[in-house]
């Protein structure tokens, strides 16, 4: 607790200093001079950011950085990755070690307001859920009174779990296990009735660790909100704008049905004014951001739209459907601010 207090105090001091020192455009100029975007990612979370067998970073969080690099530098591969632990991530951003943090970070008030950070959007809506064996015969989390629950310690997961059961007036028996492999092994060997973590994690554990995935179900209740998104340091509004609109352009492209495959055709032939604005046929957007007019075209061309990135990383790796992350037109929450 004490270390956390000191850290928070230190972080706030730095944030205050950083806010004074930073000038609009400083990060963009730095990135252009370096020739790459320094991107903070998770040290290994399949589907979000993980190294493949060749040691290359892949994932939906990685694609955000690739999109920004494509927009700013013209090449989606002009990214250098810094793997960061949960404890290090904000310091790395505040000290200027990285230009953007794209590491499944939950947007909250204190982080946004107190730590000198700016969340530039939400690229994944997650939330905590429950995984149970079908044989338990339970259909809703409200029937879990008295259950033993496997949970990893030291995370908001543990707190959310306690809050939820207290709010519902139910009791539970926590089985706290530090290591995710051991925790899941304990669950599948029947040591606890319930395993709880973020829904994305539950789905991947169910598909990859269970002997027979059909024997397990994820309960419909989602007990916490975890909007995950990329973050930049406060004080450089231009850089925040570029990051925000790079992410937005991916979602907007999906809304318009612009894909990696048809982007050239769309650019040449589309008469839709929205698409023309997005792809720079009718100029103005790039100039507003301090970029050239093909910024969004390059994002779609090199990285793909949001749906393509999701399919390639989250669905293919974790077997997760779009769910909350479907477009708003399909009943999800992904709703792009108009590029105009």
């Amino acid at each position: 607790m004490k270390i956390k207090t000191i850290l928070a105090a230190g972080a706030m001091t730095v944030a205050a200093v950083a806010a004074q020192n930073a000038q609009a455009g400083a990060v963009l100029d730095g990135v252009k001079a370096k020739g790459f975007v320094q991107c903070g990612v998770n040290t290994g979370l399949p589907g979000f950011s993980a190294a493949n067998a060749e040691g290359k970073w892949e994932g939906i969080d990685v694609d955000v950085c690739r999109a920004i690099a494509a927009a700013v530098l013209g090449d989606a591969n002009s990214v250098q990755y810094t793997p960061l632990t949960a404890a290090q991530r904000f310091t790395a951003l505040q000290s200027g070690e990285i230009d953007i943090l794209s590491r499944n970070t939950t947007a909250t008030t204190t982080r946004d307001a107190k730590l000198g950070l700016t969340f530039v959007g939400i690229n994944y809506y997650d939330g905590q859920g429950f995984l149970i064996p079908k044989a338990l015969g339970v259909n809703s989390a409200t029937e879990l009174d008295g259950a033993t629950v496997c949970v990893e310690p030291g995370t908001t997961t543990e707190l959310n779990l306690a809050d939820y059961f207290r709010a519902k007036g139910m009791s539970f028996e926590p089985v706290v296990i530090e290591n995710i492999n051991e925790a899941t092994a304990a669950f599948f060997s029947g040591r606890c009735d319930v395993y709880t973590t973020d829904a994305s994690g539950l789905a991947s554990i169910r598909t990859t660790m269970a002997e027979n995935p059909d024997d397990y179900v994820i309960l419909p209740e989602i007990i916490s909100k975890e909007p995950l998104g990329p973050v930049v340091a406060q004080g450089d509004e231009q850089w925040a704008d570029i990051s925000r609109w790079a992410l937005t352009a991916m979602v907007e492209a999906e809304e318009f049905g612009v894909t990696m495959a048809n982007v050239d055709d769309m650019k040449a032939n589309s008469t839709n004014p929205g698409i023309q604005r997005l792809l720079g046929v009718s100029p103005g957007m790039g100039e507003a951001l301090g970029l050239d007019e093909e910024w969004a075209y390059r994002i779609v061309k090199n990285v793909g739209n949001y749906g393509e990135s999701y399919e390639k990383n989250v669905t293919a790796k974790l077997g997760l459907e779009r769910g909350l992350n479907a477009l708003w037109t399909d009943g999800g929450l992904q709703y792009a601010w108009p590029v105009r």
């Binding site: 270390i3 000191i6 850290l7 230190g10 972080a11 001091t13 730095v14 200093v17 950083a18 020192n21 930073a22 040290t43 290994g44 979370l45 399949p46 589907g47 993980a50 190294a51 493949n52 067998a53 060749e54 040691g55 290359k56 970073w57 250098q80 990755y81 810094t82 793997p83 960061l84 632990t85 404890a87 290090q88 310091t91 790395a92 505040q94 000290s95 200027g96 070690e97 492999n181 991947s204 598909t207 990859t208 660790m209 790796k317 974790l318």
Partner: protein
Amino acid sequence: MSENAKLPPLPTGTFSERAVAWSKKNLFDGWFNTLLTLGALAFILWLVPPLFNWAVVNATLTPTIEGCAEVTGACWGFVNANLRLILFGTYPYEEQWRPVLAMIVLIAIICGSLGAVKYPGLRKWIIPMWVVGVPVIGVLMWGGVLGLTYVQNSYWGGLPLTLILSSIGVIFAFPLGLLLALGRQSNMPAIKTVSVVYIEVIRGVPLITVLFMASVMFPLFLPTGVTIDKLLRAQIGIILFTAAYLAEVFRGGLQAVPRGQFEAGDSLALSYWQSMRLIILPQALRLVIPPTVNSFISMFKDTTLVVIIGLFDFLGTVKLALRSDPAWTKYYVEGYAFAAAIFFLICFSMAKYSAYLEKELRKGERR
């Protein structure tokens, strides 16, 4: 020659008679030892066949998830498929010959330095080897010159990172530890106090705290925009930590050297440094070979802690590989077993070398 009288008579009889006699004496000597022997035998029979079946008979090397799903034993295919990720981490795939070459250079220098005990001719080359070798390794790993592409050290990982962190750690921690040990023995109050405070403070905190401070707290004290390399911070943390432990090991050695040896140096009118170099340290260091190597082994293993600050040492890259594809995640036992085997190999070699070194350096004491 009273000792010879106690020697047992030379064994006689056929091989089977001798075997029976040997086992009676060594395995079934009284009811307690018989019980232990039978217990150990039962344990081996219980443990080894299933382990062997798992690790060899029913195992597969096929580097695909499908291949692993077909077998009941170990899925060495996980290690096979991800070998380069495990060995080199996220180092750019096409450039991985560079860490290979850097490791060869590093191992050659280490062998050259260690071999100097056996071949005294190598001794004068030890310092030049390191002075040339370390920059060569740096150039190979970082690049940016001679047409090599620049590779940030956030991409370094796996075995090269583990070897670099621990060998650079040893090279710098050793002299620093020695100075601290001498400082603690010093008559000058300022030097003595600084040494004592340093040693006690560092020994009083876990390595994980030192690394955490270096990685998370330290950057907060620097002005915005000034960053000190993450790997360098971790390396310095490891050096400072190991030096404090080595200092106490060396102090033990210094205290074991008889007072008369110090006085002998004084009476020969040798300066402090001369008497240390020529008389005291050779004796003191020889005495503390086992605990020194102990410190090195524990430091080697402690380098795995850098995973908490987002660096991928050899154990970290195994974890990275486990997460490269969720389908591999369930084969963590195989991954960790492979890492354990490599760590054992290296630590066991260090232990064997230390035993050899002790024997070599004790030659002068034999009669």
